[in-house]
Structures are given as C-alpha cells and as structure tokens.
Point group: C2
Chain length 421, copies 2
C-alpha cells in the first residue's frame, strides 16, 4: 500500500537525502555497518548512516546485534513501525533533529557488512530471456526445457562464500575440458563471468513440513538486494552433469549491503507480465490474483565494468548492459511458494537469488556469456580493450533503481567486486 512515506514532497533535514538517487527519505534501507568498531545496525539516509543502537531511545524496537536476522524474523509489523518512526525523526521540521544528529556517520567513513547470517542460499532461474539465451547456446532448436513454464527452476547454492559488496573475488582454479580434447586440464578459469540478479532476504521463515501458501508468501520477504552470482563457465561445462553447478559457482557470490524493504519498493510493484497468453497457467499453489496483479517489480538494473586500464586512465565504469526486473517469468511469491511446497523450511536470513535477469535485446544481457555469444563475439570497451570473459583487475558493478513519475527514485547502492588472480 502506498502511503505518506512515499510522498515525493517529503523532505529530510539531512540535506544530501533530498534528491539522492539511491537513499532519499522514501527509501530508508537497513544494513550492518561499522566505523572502525563493532558492526551494528544502521539506516542509509543520503550520504549518511543513522546508528540505530545510538538512537535506540527514540524507537519502540530497533534491530540489535551484528545481523538483522532476529529483527527480520519478527515479520513486517516491526519493520513497518520502524519505517514510520524513521520518517518522523528524519523529516524536515522534526523535533528530534538535535538528538538524531549525534547518531549519524558519514557513509564514506564506514564499512558495510553482510546484513544477515545466511543459513541457506538458493538460486532460481526465473529470468526467461537468460534461460532462452543460454539454452540456445546449447540447444539451438529447443532453448527452454519443458519444465520451465510449469515451475520456477532453482537449485541450492553455497551460503559460506556469499560476501558483501567490495570484497575481492579470487579467480577460481579447477578442472576444465576443451571440446576437442579427451582429457581435462587443471588451471585458472578462463571463462569467468558475472550474473546480474536480484536477491531476496527471508524474514520469518516457516517450519519444516509446513509449506508457505502463495497468499502468505509476500509476507516472508524481509527485503531485496543485488546479487552477482560469479560463474566460471568452463568449470561449469565440465562438472555440471548430472547434478548441476558446483565449483563453478561456489567460490564467491556478492550481495549489495543495504536491505531495500518491501515498503520502499511499493511504488514499483507491477503486474506479472512475462507470461504469454498461450503459456500454461500456473498450478493453484503458484497462483493468486493479488500476486498476478502486483507481484512483479519494475526496477531498472544495470551492470558496469571498470578495468585496470580504465582506472589508470581515470575513466568511469562502462555500462555493459541495462535490464529490468520485469523480465522475471516467476514472481518472488511464486519462488517462495514453490521452494516450500514440498515442506522445505526457510529460515530468517536465507537468501534467494532470481537468476540472471537479462532483457530480450542486445545491450540487455545480464552475463558476458550472453553478451559475447558464448565467447565468440568480444565486447569492445572505451579503451579499445575487448572482453569475452573477465580479466584480473576487472571490477564489476551492479545497480538497481526504481523510477516512476511522481515518486522519488529508490536505489540499491552498489554491488561491486574486483577479480583478483
């Protein structure tokens, strides 16, 4: 429900928040930060971070500890109450300004940490254009497998190697086999790639054996982030039969550090639009009228690259692709209902990835595998450098932003990681 907290006329006495592309007073994302001391919960407002522990006396309930797990386990009630109170104390004219000013840090002086202890990480495959593009590289006549339009395909990822934005990513070594060779070789991956995804943080969770109904699924969402599911395509091609990706993906996955709440994203909810008229209807456990009407998300997604040479020349990151989260064939609620329908339990702080969210055209590819047509067509950069896959020193930056006429823009901040050898 869109309420006064989304009003574009709402201003903050934190000057940098007004017109901020990511963190205006209409966003108020939660995270875990530190300023040379103990990691603790905070809220982004403009170029500053509000220390919730220091400002605790102003609230009925704030997150405590070094993760958001316990607070988000309480569900939407406390989260929404926190948002309303944050708007009260941060809006222009608030009588609390003097107190709150003592609880602010410059974001540029702080480190952001993983916002949750992640129990399990699951990655889906709901970006239909990515599934078609990748499928076409392997099966030109039949890119989408028969199950794709009946259920949200997903698999279990590795929780231990999920890292916060800014952590360097080491190029993995592993076994690869050239198509024209009989035997594999060992060495560094030569086809290292990024994947542009949205991440979903789970709030309350469900008990083992108790599926989450599609009508209740949205209430499981604590918030959203960006997710770069780094992938070693050459390792993947050799290892993935018959049980799926393993070492090709478990060396690192990077998430953006701010948790963008469902409340902040309300203005960007749209009808689920990726299903076509003659597609099979979703089974009842995957269908609710409300979810079809507003379970989609209209967020601009972007991936940029900054090479070592570009940095040396003082060039800015180069935009490789722009896409949108409307290209999800299955909604977040459908992902949750499907994940739990057999009884699997989700726990607070679990992470779900959408899978790569590519658009239907050139310039909208969420991975280099797609942009380079399987490594055949190099991407040309402003320096004249070319890439089919990532080189050491390359920094990949993902961004997401909700933009809608009459509303403030709501950004996710950066999800960035540099490849090191």
């Amino acid at each position: 429900m869109i309420d006064h907290t989304h009003d574009i006329a709402l201003k903050s006495w934190v000057e940098s928040a007004n017109g901020h592309p990511d963190f205006p007073i209409q966003n108020l994302p939660l995270g875990i930060f530190s300023a040379g001391d103990t990691p603790r919960p905070g809220v982004a407002i403009g170029d500053l971070i509000l220390d919730l522990t220091a400002a605790k006396a102003l609230f009925d309930l704030v997150p405590e500890g070094q993760t958001l797990n316990a607070f988000m386990a309480l569900g939407k009630g406390p989260r929404q109450a926190l948002r309303l109170r944050l708007v009260e104390i941060l809006r222009e004219g608030s009588p609390h300004r003097a107190v709150v000013e003592t609880c602010l840090h410059k974001a540029s002086d702080c480190i952001l940490h993983l916002p949750f202890h992640i129990g399990d990480y699951t990655d889906f495959y709901v970006g239909i254009h990515h599934a078609q593009n990748v499928g076409a590289l392997f099966r030109p006549d039949n890119p989408l497998l028969p199950n794709y339009r009946h259920l949200p395909i997903g698999y279990h990822g590795r929780a231990s190697s999920v890292v916060a934005s800014g952590v360097d990513v080491r190029r993995p070594h592993g076994q690869t086999k050239a198509p024209d060779s009989d035997t594999p070789v060992f060495g560094p991956s030569r086809r290292l790639d990024y994947e542009l995804e949205l991440g979903v943080w789970i709030g309350p969770g469900n008990d083992l054996g108790q599926p989450v109904d599609i009508y209740a699924a949205a209430d499981q969402v604590a918030g959203f982030c960006l997710l770069n599911d780094w992938s070693a395509r050459d390792i993947q091609a050799w290892e993935y039969q018959p049980l799926g990706p393993f070492l090709a993906k478990n060396f690192a996955s990077t998430v953006s550090s701010w948790v963008i709440t469902p409340e902040a994203l309300m203005p960007f909810r749209v009808a689920q639009a990726a299903r076509e008229a003659d597609d099979p209807p979703p089974m009842p456990y995957l269908w609710s009228e409300n979810d079809q009407a507003e379970g989609g998300l209209n967020l601009e997604l972007e991936v940029s690259l900054l090479t070592a040479q570009m940095r040396a020349q003082g060039l800015p990151p180069h935009k490789l692709a722009q896409s949108n989260s409307r290209h999800m064939y299955w909604t977040v609620a459908q992902m949750i209902a499907h994940h739990t329908v057999g009884g699997c339990n989700l726990r607070p702080g679990d992470l779900l990835g959408t899978g790569t969210l590519s658009g239907p055209e050139a310039g909208m590819h969420g991975s280099l595998l797609e942009a380079s047509h399987g490594g055949k067509v190099p991407v040309v950069l402003p320096t004249g450098e070319t890439r089919t896959f990532l080189q050491d020193g390359d920094k990949v930056i993902l961004r997401a932003r909700g933009m809608r006429d009459g509303f403030a823009s709501i950004g996710f901040g950066e999800c960035r990681g540099k490849v090191v050898g």
Copy 2:
C-alpha cells in the same frame, strides 16, 4: 595411528560397554543429548551417556554449549586429548569411577539432537555402483558420464532440513509428470526413496580463497555419521534439468546423532580400492600417497525397513541391503580437496555426504530405485507386502559398523526415520 585406545583387551567399568556392538570403550562418540532439560555434549559408552558438562572438572577441555561446532573447530588436538582422558576415566580400575558414575544417564532416558549447527550441506556422488546403476536406468549404453572418473561430482544440498535420527519425515507434495503425459500434475510423491550414505562432519574449515591441500584434508574431518538423503524420484525426474535436484531432496535429510571420530575408525582405514587399473590417474590436487594407501574406509553398511504391518505383527526390521564404504570411488580427503580447490570455504559443522553407497551385486543396493530396478521389480517383505518405493508408516533404519579381527566392533548407532503422510 592405532594406539592403546584401540586395544581389544581394553574394558570399561561400565559393564554394558564391554562387547557392546556399537559403543565399547574403543568408540567414545560425541553427541548432543538432553534428559528433559537443556541439550548438552555427551559421550556414548555402552547403554549410557556421559554428561561432559557434569564431568568437566576431570578434563582440561570439553565441548560446551548446545552444539559441537566450537570444540571441533579446534581440530584434532583437543579431540584426541579428550579421547585419551575418556579412556583413563572409563577403563576398568579407574580411580575416577565414583565421580564419573554421578555423571551418567541411561541412553534410553535421553533424546539425541543434531550434533552441529550446519552451515552448509554438500552431497557427493562417489558411490560408483550407485552412479552406474542409476545411470544405466537413464542411459543403458553409457551409464557413467565422462567426468565421473576425473572429479568427485557433488552438489549443494539444503542445510535447514537436515534432521536428527528419529524425526518423522513428511512425504513431500510436488509436481510430477508421467512419461506418457504432456503436462505435470500436483500431489504427494509416489516414488519416495531412501539413500544409504555416510556423512562427514567438518572440523576447522578453511578461509575463502584458500584451498585445502590433499595432504591436509584428513585433518579437516571432525567425524562421521550415517546420512539418509531421502529422495522423491518422481519430483526429481521432472525438475532436475538443467540445474540438478531441488525439491526432490530438500524436504528432509536424516543424520545419525553420534559423531564417530576419525580416531575410533583408525583400525578400519584401508587402501583406496575402487579405482581400476585403466582408470585415469587422479590429478595432482587429488592425489597423495598416504591417502591412496589408507584413505579408504572398511565399514559394513546396512539398510532395514520396518513397515506399519510388521510393527503390528511384532516383527523386527527387515534387512533390505548390505553394502560397504569401500565402494567409494573418491576418498573423503579427495572430496574435501576438490570442494575447496576453487577457493570455496568450509566451516566448522559443515556436512558432506558421500552419495549413495551401493555394492556391485543384488542385495547391496543403497536405494529402492536400484533395488526395484527403477520401480519395475517389487521387493518382497516377510509379511508378503511388496515395495517399489516407500509407503506411509515405513520406518527406514541405516546402520554402519567397523569390524576387523583383533579389534572391537565400532558402530554408528541408528539413523532412522519414519515416513508420514
């Protein structure tokens, strides 16, 4: 190294330990138990459990808290010191008997819990006969894929739904599609199966980006358990392309509750023997002379079934299959070296499964899928009942035991679970 703690002549003043098929003084497995109160660390000795918290004053260091994670993170030193001290205080003639007697509980009065908080659960596929049997059902001419003999195939499982022995397992509902139908249907799985596996608990773990060398891999092992990786074959067949098993496996995995230490299993170490002469040699990161010489395990494995009708008639569980952990094509050290070679980090309490450990002949199948030849040949039980797959009310019991002339037998206790509708 085999030392005096393995001496078959060693007796305990706990009478039930002497000649106990699972828990003689030569075993001394660790676990988390409760007796109507707070879960805490204990040691199985015969029919009793030693409360390590109550007996703490007798030790330099004991596990504390409600999991073994922190203690096992310390590595083999503290674990081996604990074993030596346990033998001192529990052996016949120990001067500590009077004190220790006040710290014992009847195991039958206690509940056993999960011994670890599990960060991540990975399941491998190293049982070569299982891989061949299952492969043959899908690809009669080419049961083993080309990568199988080059690397230990594995995938990420679900940590949240790993349960302790004794917890009922709810039959999952999900999408399935009959081979002769164009569209899937929704309902309870009709092809519910067990999988007979060994589980490996990780001790110290490694940092992200720092692979575990094959020579150091054995030191990562905190202990062993049995693992039943329950599988819904019909859900699996429809969902698993292209990213592997998901809902078919994530509704429950059962582990036996006692952690059998590497020290207790020393007498049952054998040469790695499942590789044949003309198989490809393991790559250097998977090969150490020591691991080839004694990285194998000679443990008898067994799966039994107790149906509701058998229980009603007072019949004992019926042995469905007997196998052995020698049928692992890759050793535990090779699994660990491979898992981390790309930089993936393991954490204390992580669980690795071996995959189903079937033997080469009939009567040695670690799953009903194999025993019933893909559901075509029913297994006949003593009651005259038949099974292709599991029915509601069926209780599946896994056991493992090391047996060797001149040594005490070392058992794992039960890994049991009952299917409920």
